[in-house]
Every structure is written in structure tokens, then in C-alpha cells.
Symmetry: C2
Subunit: 152 residues, 2 copies
């Protein structure tokens, strides 16, 4: 089947990327997985305007990726914490981190190391097949329209 | 260690996201993995302006993610093909696809199915630990500064 010929489908990838397909949003999510929770901390780490941070956090809360948890009254202050839907983004964030470490870390090596508590070793993420458990390479995958395909 | 206290590091993630942290760029990369190679096909599928497509393709070529391969002379026409560095983005693209299928595909189900040729089964990607091979969950990972850490 030639994908070139297919009409674009209003696909779940497009919807996903309307939420997370943004440089600052992905930086914020990376920081969430490093334990950052507060507006001022996101802003200080990213070095960007309050407006950009506020816009991104607002969208992530609206989409159910983060939730606001009050930690102070009068004036109210909130932690931004990952929801289960947010935690589901860990493979996305880790895949980006891994790609960055491979291609942009340079001789100094990775800026951050990840240790898998269950086995006790530093690791990098490996994408595997849910059916057989082996690592998956793009060249070894075939695609075809699924039940939600809207193309023609 | 409290990440909130750390100065931002000029990290490999930030550099990566300067390249791929864009909605249209990620849509183009998704299409590359579906076998789309030509300017007009990217544009038709995404339904966006030629300028946006041209800008994104130019950056991806400059960064060595795609390479231009001529398929016609006078006027010259090019295929855009993934390099090895580009193929290394498969885990990123598949993780986004998976997240979209889980949270935005709706009752219709995923728009595209992926079959792992090696085992012959439809699959979704599972992120595993390079050390022990088990699936990795964010809650089971500890982070610490690595050799390339530039914070203070």
C-alpha cells in the first residue's frame, strides 16, 4: 500500500502533537519526570517568559496530562503533578533524551544518568515489541490501516 | 538531589528539541517512517503551507536527520530519506504514536497497525531497560547528574 496516495487521516498522532508537539512543552514534561513541580522552577530552568510557561502548563492541565495540587493558601500556590496520562508520556520523553544523548551530548557524555531501581543498573531505554519482547527496528515493521483509519 | 535547585544545563535534550520539538516536524518524521518521501506528498498529507514544509525539511537535512536524493533532473527533484540518525528517531515517533493511540484514538481504535516482521505479530512499543530487559516505569527510575552535566 502506498502511503503517498492516501488522504491524510485526522489521526491520533495529529491530536497528540497538538498537545505535546512543542519544544517548551516537551522541556516542561522532561522536567516533570525529574521531579520539578512548581511554576517558578519550570520558568527558572527553562529561562523563558512566564507567559510561555503559563500557556504550556494550562494546556497540559486542560488535557489531563498534569494536575494542579495546592500546596499553599492565600495566595493559592500549586504544584503541577503528572497524572497517569502524563506518566504514560515517559517513553516519549525517554526516547527524546536517548536520541539527544546519542547525537548531541558530545564527548562529555550524557548530562543525566538514569538508574533502574529494579535491577540497580544505569540504563538507556530500548524499544521492544509487545508481542515477542525483542528490540524493534523501523526497517523490520510493516504498517497498514487500522480500525480507526479515516483515509480514503 | 533536588532538581528544583539546579541551574538549567545546556543539555542534549534542549538541543534535540531545537531540532524535533515542533508539531509539523514530528508529523513529517512520522510520515517518513510510513514511507513518504516527496515534498508534495508531505504537503498534501499535512495540509499546511509549502513554506512550513520547506522550512522543516531544510532543518532536518541540515541536522543530518534526512538526506536529499535526486530522482529527476531538469528541474531537479528530490526524495527526502531518513539517515541513520533519522532512523534513530523511531522510538520517539513510535512512543508518540502509542500515546496517541491510547489517549486519542477513541472507540474506533488505532488508525494504523504495526506488524513486527520478525515475529509476525501486530505490536505496540514497550520501553525496556537496556540492563535487565524488563519494562521501565518512570516511578522506578532514579536520576543523577552524568559526566556531561553543566549545572551547578
Amino acid at each position: 500500500m502506498k502511503w503517498d496516495d492516501l488522504a491524510k487521516e485526522p489521526c491520533s498522532v495529529a491530536r497528540s502533537l497538538a498537545v505535546i508537539g512543542d519544544r517548551w512543552t516537551l522541556m516542561i514534561l522532561r522536567d516533570c519526570f525529574l521531579g520539578v513541580r512548581r511554576f517558578e522552577a519550570f520558568q527558572a530552568r527553562l529561562g523563558i517568559s512566564r507567559t510561555i510557561v503559563a500557556d504550556r502548563l494550562k494546556l497540559l492541565v486542560e488535557e489531563g496530562v498534569l494536575r494542579k495540587v495546592p500546596y499553599q493558601d492565600g495566595p493559592a500556590r500549586y504544584d503541577y503533578r503528572l497524572t497517569d496520562k502524563g506518566f504514560d508520556l515517559y517513553p516519549v520523553v525517554m526516547a527524546i533524551v536517548r536520541w539527544g544523548d546519542r547525537h548531541y551530548a558530545g564527548e562529555a557524555g550524557p548530562p543525566i544518568l538514569h538508574r533502574h531501581r529494579a535491577c540497580g543498573h544505569d540504563f538507556h531505554p530500548v524499544t521492544t515489541c509487545s508481542a515477542c519482547g525483542e528490540p524493534v527496528d523501523a526497517r523490520d515493521v510493516e504498517t497498514r490501516p487500522g480500525p480507526g483509519f479515516k483515509g480514503s
